[in-house]
Amino acid sequence: MNYSREEMMTVAAARQLRDGEVCFVGIGLPSAACNLARLTHAPDLVLIYESGTIGTQPTILPLSIGDGELAETADFIVSLPDVFAYYLQAGRVDVGFLGAAQMDRFGNLNSTVIGDYARPSTRLPGAGGAPEIAAHAGRTLVVMKASPRSMVASLDFRSSAGFLDGADRRAALGMHGRGPQTVITDVGILRPHPATQELQLAALFPGITSAEACAGFAWPLRLAEDLDTLTAPSAHELAVLRSLQRRSAAAHLQPRDLPLHRLDT
């Protein structure tokens, strides 16, 4: 069965999630991956979107982190101060998702600026929830396509901490979470080396060579000793994912239904 790289990424991310875990979900691929997991092997996955929706079970993928769909299908909703203090900071989140414009070999991320902070060549949206997701989630999954422009030797700005300079510097800062345990790219999966914590290629996408994979990184990517190849998406995984995306696209295409008549009252 044919599948795209993006589909393989989504499936690979979904497979990282274990049933019953509590996930702090981001928009886009993480949201697709979490809902794919929930609709396949992890029906009791608990999804928390940053907007405070707890135990959300959306039938379509949201376009924003605070879509009405997320509120309407949530077990309940809490305020932003509460979701960050009582859920994330309190250590009640097992898995957090992160993405960024740049990542370095220790999984540190930049989503703030390209260039100088005060006068950037490109101003990016900023850190948002990332610094504390990176610190407090039991583990984080980073989702980013591999290219030398994004997988860089040195970040322009560190928006959120991965393993810092490696070798347990992270634990020394007293962070509860175990950091970026898995990085899902469009060529394969990286995991930290047990001792140095430098990210190394742990598994390749089917049909990708390690040379092709390494070309996506601006630093000399190390290969794990037991370098593996991921199983291709199953027919069931693809069917569920495509159905979810079809459903979502159809819903998002529906014409807006703004009750303009209320302006006349």
């Binding site: 982190i65 009405g68 809490v78 900071q89 950037p120 949206p125 510097r169 302006l263």
Partner: protein, 293 residues
């Protein structure tokens, strides 16, 4: 009771004129949901300037206010067009000082939430485990730390946010001006309780507030003005009333990418309209469809 009711209900132009002044620290809060667009656009119409804008997620409303020159300073934690990409007017202000320079007071979401909570609680600073191993505090001297007197560990601190005025949009209010918000309520309660003045636009005036999902209520005696403003959150949404206009969010990318097209749009749909209702009628008249969807 009738006097009180008369006093707090007023028109949007009056509320903005009376309670928002040039140079003020202003928070228009709402996390994706219930963003007070109509109020922000009225501030643009009134030409308010030199504002210190505060919002966790600047969103399109601050893109518009910044692009129209209302802002001197921005406290924020994530400045993108959700699910779409950049806020081009925000970027242009930071990257090229257009229309003029913008000071940044940048935080993480958790830091902003702690700062609002501290403001609402009458504390001078908010406490969090945050910013560990990040570069933000090197560029924002307002992010400090304090030592735990019990464990000796260092925790991050942010100064309390205390806006001169917080502006919210809500589903409903009663005659006295008690306001009810439900659904995703972000940091709105904290932003309101932290503020010196509070103005709320609402979808509906109701006889009685009824329990709702994740409802928060703000008492009339912390609120300075309540404005009836149906669809006042568009293109954001009001749960139970209308959905988020995702198509407009997508479309904004093209409108705002270019200074000319941005200024043209603002002139036609904000400055040339008397109010939010006129803007919506003009936008959704047949001729304008291509601009918006």
């Amino acid at each position: 009771m009738d006097d009180l009711a008369t006093n707090c209900w007023m028109s949007l132009p009056e509320a903005m004129r009376r309670f928002v002044h040039d140079g003020d620290c202003v928070a228009l809060e709402g996390f994706t949901h219930l963003i007070p667009f109509a109020a922000g656009q009225e501030l643009i119409r009134q030409g308010r300037c030199d504002l210190h804008l505060v919002r966790m997620t600047p969103d399109l409303i601050y893109d518009q206010m910044i692009g129209m020159g209302c802002a001197r300073r921005l406290s924020f934690s994530w400045g993108g067009n959700p699910g779409v990409g950049s806020l081009h007017r925000l970027r242009d202000a930071i990257e090229h000082d257009w229309p003029h320079p913008l000071e940044l007071d940048e935080h993480s979401h958790a830091g902003m939430a702690a700062a609002y909570t501290a403001g609402a609680s009458g504390l001078p600073f908010g406490l969090l485990r945050g910013y560990q191993g990040c570069d933000l505090q090197q560029h924002n001297s307002r992010i400090a730390s304090v030592q735990c007197p019990y464990t000796g560990e260092r925790l991050a601190c942010v100064p309390a946010l205390r806006p001169d005025v917080t502006i919210l949009h809500a589903q409903c209010a009663d005659a006295l001006g008690n306001v009810s918000l439900s659904g995703i309520t972000g940091a709105q309660r904290e932003a309101a309780m932290a503020a010196k003045r509070v103005v709320v636009t609402v979808e509906q005036r109701v006889a009685q507030l009824t329990p709702a999902m994740n409802q928060i209520v703000l008492p009339h005696w912390i609120i300075d003005a309540v404005v009836l403003c149906p669809l006042g959150a568009w293109p954001s949404y009001a749960l139970g009333h209308y959905a988020r206009d995702n198509a407009f969010y997508l479309n904004w990318d093209a409108i705002a990418r270019d200074r000319e097209s941005f200024l043209h749009w603002m002139q036609r749909y904000v400055l040339d309209c008397n109010d939010h209702a006129e803007m919506l009628r003009r936008l959704f008249a047949s001729g304008a469809a291509e601009l918006t969807s």
